[in-house]
């Protein structure tokens, strides 16, 4: 396959960059390892500071990409290597098998309806279940199911139900080569692991959840249809946020600030306040970094709504016999004697780590910083990487919120199209 630009990652950064290139007439191939485009944003409930519905913002971009004549999307595809060849690049990718014939599938979901086996749903971050063969989520693009072959019983119920005979149990991975004029890395982030900090329960306390799980509880098509805590379904009336639970902490290898956690905690607290008006919500923080446009006002609104902000270092989280989390804090204001506070539900405001560290596995020969994010050597051209012709945008270059990500993605598209112009001369 040949294209002008290869965009790796189809989250909001990749989608925006692909559109800005395609709208200039460039041929774009957009690759994502997940079965659907949309990245992390499609999974969120609402976004700060406007409290817009995340899906409502992401799905039009996804639809534009899907219908754009200049964009070819390869989902469920891993990038194995990217090698510079002169000014161009040769990428080797592997299309993972969905076990579905894409040319025959019409997205009717019969297979999903007939499948008899349930699995933990990774889009609901373990809170919900999905069938072994299923379309990842309601607005997935493409609307094609994935069959989890590791869990599949091979009972054939899906194949029998499929009106177009699209199930293919023997499907193999397909290796492709892509000849691209330029590459954009929009590979996004993961959150720091739940079990990184032993002192916070090591990921084993059922009512100490990750911010993604909280997003799913708050999302319009979430797993429980409302906010309930995992251990017993109780509707929580006392909820706590532990800020810097995965950042500004050298002991877990993440000494940097993850930039978005203050804001997403405040956002989630506001949404919780809206859906559980009697609940007490406390945010234990070190600094509240509400730095962006509209962010400070958002923070002040949250205070006015009665959300409690307590400057305190959380030393330890344990639980009692009913799985009520107990937070041990050292207040930094007022008394400094350690206190133990019991809550119904605790959300760890985990930080961001890069989703893809390309030079670690030898996939692409470019430099990363000490923080493992892609190194961007030029201040005035912040999307350039150490490899000419390869540009990076979004969380790939460091923790980032959505607004800055979208701006960077457009900027990367500009650099990429100028690179193509220069190469053409």
């Amino acid at each position: 396959m040949k294209c002008d630009a290869l965009v790796i990652g189809a989250g909001i950064a990749g989608l925006q960059a692909a559109l800005d290139l395609a709208d200039q007439g460039k041929q774009v191939i957009l690759v994502d390892r997940d079965p659907s485009i949309g990245g992390r944003m499609i999974n969120l409930s609402k976004v700060f500071p406007t409290l817009d519905c995340a899906s409502c913002i992401t799905t039009p971009r996804m639809a534009s990409v899907a219908h754009h004549p200049n964009i070819k999307t390869l989902t469920y595809t891993e990038v194995d290597s990217v090698t510079p060849v002169g000014p161009r690049f040769l990428a080797k990718v592997t299309k993972k098998p969905r076990y579905i014939r894409e040319d025959l599938c019409i997205g009717c979901k019969r297979c999903e309806e007939e499948c008899i086996l349930y699995l933990s749903d990774e889009y609901d971050h373990g809170l919900g279940a999905k069938k072994v063969v299923s379309i990842p989520f309601t607005n997935a693009i493409p609307q094609l199911p994935v069959l989890d072959m590791d869990e599949c019983m091979l009972c054939g119920a899906c194949a029998k139900a499929c009106p177009t005979d699209a199930i293919d149990f023997m499907q193999e991975p397909v290796h492709e080569e892509i000849d691209a004029g330029t590459v954009i890395l929009a590979t996004g982030y993961n959150i720091t692991p739940m079990d990184a900090k032993r002192q916070y329960g090591g990921g084993k306390l059922p009512n100490v959840i990750s911010p993604f799980m909280a997003e799913r509880l708050l999302a319009p098509h979430g797993p429980y249809g409302g906010v309930m805590r995992p251990s017993d379904g109780k509707i929580p009336s006392s909820i706590a946020y532990v800020q810097c639970a995965g950042s500004r902490d050298a002991s877990i290898g993440v000494p940097y600030c993850s930039r978005v956690c203050c804001m997403y905690a405040i956002k989630q607290a506001m949404l919780l306040s809206g859906s559980l008006p009697i609940a007490d919500i406390t945010i234990y923080y070190m600094d509240i970094r509400a730095f962006g446009k509209g962010y400070e006002q958002f923070y002040q609104n949250a205070k006015a709504m009665g959300i409690e902000f307590v400057k305190a270092k959380v030393a330890k989280i344990t639980e009692d016999e009913e799985h009520n989390p107990i937070v041990r804090i050292e207040r930094q204001e007022g008394t400094s004697a350690p206190e133990e506070v019991k809550h119904d539900l605790v959300v760890l405001s985990l930080g961001m780590v890069p989703a893809w560290v390309p030079d670690r596995d030898g996939i692409i020969p470019l430099e990363v910083g000490a923080d493992s994010f892609v190194r961007t050597p030029r201040l005035t051209a912040p999307n350039l990487t150490s490899l000419p012709g390869v540009f990076a945008a979004g969380a790939a270059t460091g923790p980032k919120d959505i607004v800055d990500t979208i701006v960077e993605a457009s900027a990367a598209a500009m650099e990429a199209s100028n690179y193509l112009e220069a190469c053409a001369k």
């Binding site: 519905c53 899906s55 409502c56 799905t59 309601t138 607005n139 098509h221």
Partner: protein, 135 residues
Amino acid sequence: MKDPNDYKILILTTNISSYPGANTVGQARLQYSPATSIIRVPDPVVFPDDFYLRAFEKGVDGIIIMSSGSDCPYEGAYRRLSERVARVYKEMEVRGLDRSKLKLTTICTVCKAAFLKEIKDMQDNLAKLEQKVAS
């Protein structure tokens, strides 16, 4: 008494917001009455006062305007729409039509529950009105 599922409800939706919202309801296979009909427009501000009155004359039982609310990209459209609806209410009163037969609301692209609730509310409301007339 009519089955509430038989009330002819006209739903006006927007291209960017509530029409995709109706699609989301379908993607989730949630069920509602087939006596509903959905029309889509760039923005419901386009309909003049007499559009609504004419629709009632022609046999529509209830009209739900599902606007884009704060997602609306058109300056001043929502304000004009609400002012218009207020005027239409007055005209409906003159014609003996209860104002609850026309509802202005906001539905986003994923507001499944809200979408269904609007239809159910309209149906319940129309049933109540029918009862009032009967009694």
